[in-house]
Amino acid sequence: MSEELLSFEDAMAQFDPVLGLEVHVELNTATKMFCGCANVFGSEPNTNTCPVCLGLPGSLPVVNATAIASAIRIGLSLGCDIAEWCRFARKNYFYPDMTKDFQTSQYDEPIAFDGRVELEVDGEVFVIEIERAHMEEDAGKLVHAGGVTGRIGDAEYSLVDYNRAGTPLIEIVTRPIRGTGAKAPQVAKAYVSYLRDLMRALDVSDVRMEQGSLRCDANVSLMPKGETELGLRTETKNVNSLRSIEAALTYEIRRQAALLAGGGKVHQETRHWHEEGYTTPGRSKEQAEDYRYFPEPDLVPVAPSREWVEELRATLPEAPDVKRKRLQTAWGFAEQEFADIVNAGALDLIEATVAAGAPASAARKWWLSELARRANEAGVELTALAITPAQVAAVQALVDAGTVNDKLARQVIDGVLAGEGEPAEVVSARGLAVVSDDGALIAAVDRAIEANPDVAAKIREGKMAAAGALIGAVMKDLRGQADAGRVRELIVERLG
C-alpha cells in the first residue's frame, strides 16, 4: 500500500500547499431534519425511521425549526452573512445509503456565507475564509459484510441502517487556504479543533469525531514555490480524529510532492485515510460528478427575518478564543501550560472539573497526565473516556481529604473507568482508603523499625535521608494505603 513519499522538509522546500477543508457537523436536535424521528446515536438498527426518512412515495418533508436556528447561529459565530432567502435542493445520486436517491441539501443558496475565522498556530495568526455553511441531511449507515477484511473491496454484500438518514447536518466549507507553508497540517488541525470548540460552546452538536458527529474532508494541492496557479487536489475522507487530520495531510503532501518532483501528475481524486498511516485512492474525480441539482419542490424557501437573526445573534456564547484568554488568567497557568491543555483538547473537561470543585492545577494534572495516558493507550479522545469531570473532581476531593493518596487515586480512576461506579463507591468496594488510624500506622512503623535496625540507628543519629527506606517498608506493609507524609511524622516521633 505504501507509495513513494518525499520527506516533508524536501516537499516544503519545493512546494507550497493549499488547503480546502469541508467539515460536516451533525446537529444535536431532538429530531431529524425533515421528520419527527428521534435523532440519537446508537439505537437498534432501523428503529428511528418513518416514511419521510425512508423516502417512501407520498411522504412529505417538513423542516425542523431548531435545525434552522442552529444553522443560523453557526453561521453567525463564523462571521457569515445569513441569507435573507434560500432554498433546499436535490442532489441526485444512487447509493444504497440514500433512501430517496437524492440528498436534500443546499446548492447555490446556502443559508450562511462569507465568514472568517482567525486562528493562532505557534504564535502566528492565520485567517481562514469561510465560503459557506449550508444545511443538508445525513445518509444511512452501511456495514460491509461477507468479506475477509470488512472493507468494501471484498464485501459480498452490504447491510443498511437508516437511523442516521435525515439527521441534520451543517457543512462548513472554506475557501482555498494559502500561505500556511509547512504549518498546513497544523493549521488544518487547529481549524477543526476550533470548530469543535465552537460547536460545543454553541451546544449545537455533540461533536464526537469518533462517532462521526464531526467529520472532516481534507483537500490539499501543491504549487511549485513561487507559482500562484492551484495544482490538482486530492480530497481525503474518513479522517475522524484531530490527530488523523494532521497525519493525513502530512502524508498527502509528501505523496503528492514525490509524484510532482518525479515529473508525474497528481490525480484529482477522493482518497481514504487509514489509521495505519497512509491513504488509498477512492472514487476518481476525473469525470466531474453530475448531481443534477435542482430546487427541492417539496419544501418552501427559508427566509429568516432579520429580527430572528438578531435574536439568535444575542444567544451566541463567548467565542472560544476569548474564553481561553479569560480562563488562562483565572487559572493562572503559564502560556505553555495552558497551550498543552488546549492542544490536548482538555479545556472544556478541565473547566468542568474546576466547576465541580477541583483546583485548576489538580484538574490539569489528572487530565493531562494520568487520563491522557489512558486515552492514548486506548487510542481515543479524552472526551471518550468513561469518566466525567465531576468524577475527576470527586477523586481529587478524596485526595484533598486524605482519604486516598495519589497512588490510590489512580486505582480509584481505574475503577471508575472499569464501570465500578462513583469514586467513593470504588474506594469502599476496593478497600482503597488509606489507613488513617494512627494505631495501625504506629504498629506498622514499629514493625519497620524492628525489621531495619541499622536504618533506624541512622535516623536516631539525625540522618533523616535514611527515612525513605522506612517509609517504603511501611508503605509496602500497608499495600500503599497510607499517607506518606503522616508515616514520616510518625517515624520522627518514634525515633526522634
Binding site: 436536535t29 431532538a30 429530531t31 421528520c35 419527527g36 424521528c37 428521534a38 437498534e44 438498527p45 432501523n46 428503529t47 428511528n48 425511521t49 418513518c50 416514511p51 425512508l54 417538513v62 423542516v63 425542523n64 425549526a65 431548531t66 435545525a67 434552522i68 432567502w85 432554498r87 441526485n92 444512487f94 447509493y95 444504497p96 445509503d97 452501511l142 456495514v143 460491509h144 459484510a145 461477507g146 468494501i152 464485501a155 459480498e156 454484500y157 452490504s158 447491510l159 443498511v160 441502517d161 437508516y162 477522493t270 481514504h272 477512492g282 472514487r283 453530475d290 443534477r292 435542482f294 430546487p295 427541492e296 419542490p297 419544501l299 418552501v300 424557501p301 427559508v302 427566509a303 429568516p304
Partner: protein, 98 residues
C-alpha cells in the same frame, strides 16, 4: 440543439437505465422534442418574471423539534427484498467506497 447519442447514453448512465445503441438513437430525437417544448418557457420568462420553484407563495414552513413515534421495525423492513440483523441487505457496491 440536437442531443447526441453519446449524451443520451450518459443520461442513461446517470439514471441507471441500460440503453442499447438502437434505443439511444430512438430516444435522442424524442428527448429533443421535450427539450424544445420546455425551452419555449424561456421565451415568456422575461427578466421581470422572478424564477419560481414552488407553486405556493409561502416561506418558513417549520415544525417544532418534538419527537414523534417512528415506524415499528418489522413494518420498516417488510418491504425489503432481503434483511439481515435488522438491516436492509443490498448487493455489494462496486467501484466506490462509502
Amino acid at each position: 440543439m440536437a442531443l447526441t447519442a453519446a449524451e443520451v447514453a450518459r443520461l442513461g448512465e446517470l439514471a441507471r437505465v441500460r440503453l442499447t445503441e438502437s434505443e439511444t438513437e430512438l430516444l435522442a430525437p424524442q428527448l429533443d422534442v421535450i427539450l424544445a417544448a420546455v425551452a419555449r418557457v424561456t421565451e415568456v420568462a422575461t427578466p421581470d418574471v422572478p424564477p419560481t420553484s414552488h407553486a405556493i407563495p409561502l416561506t418558513n414552513v417549520f415544525r417544532d423539534d418534538v419527537v414523534r413515534p417512528s415506524l415499528p421495525r418489522e413494518d420498516v423492513l417488510a418491504g425489503a427484498p432481503a434483511v439481515e440483523d435488522g438491516r436492509f441487505r443490498v448487493p455489494r457496491i462496486l467501484g466506490e467506497e462509502a
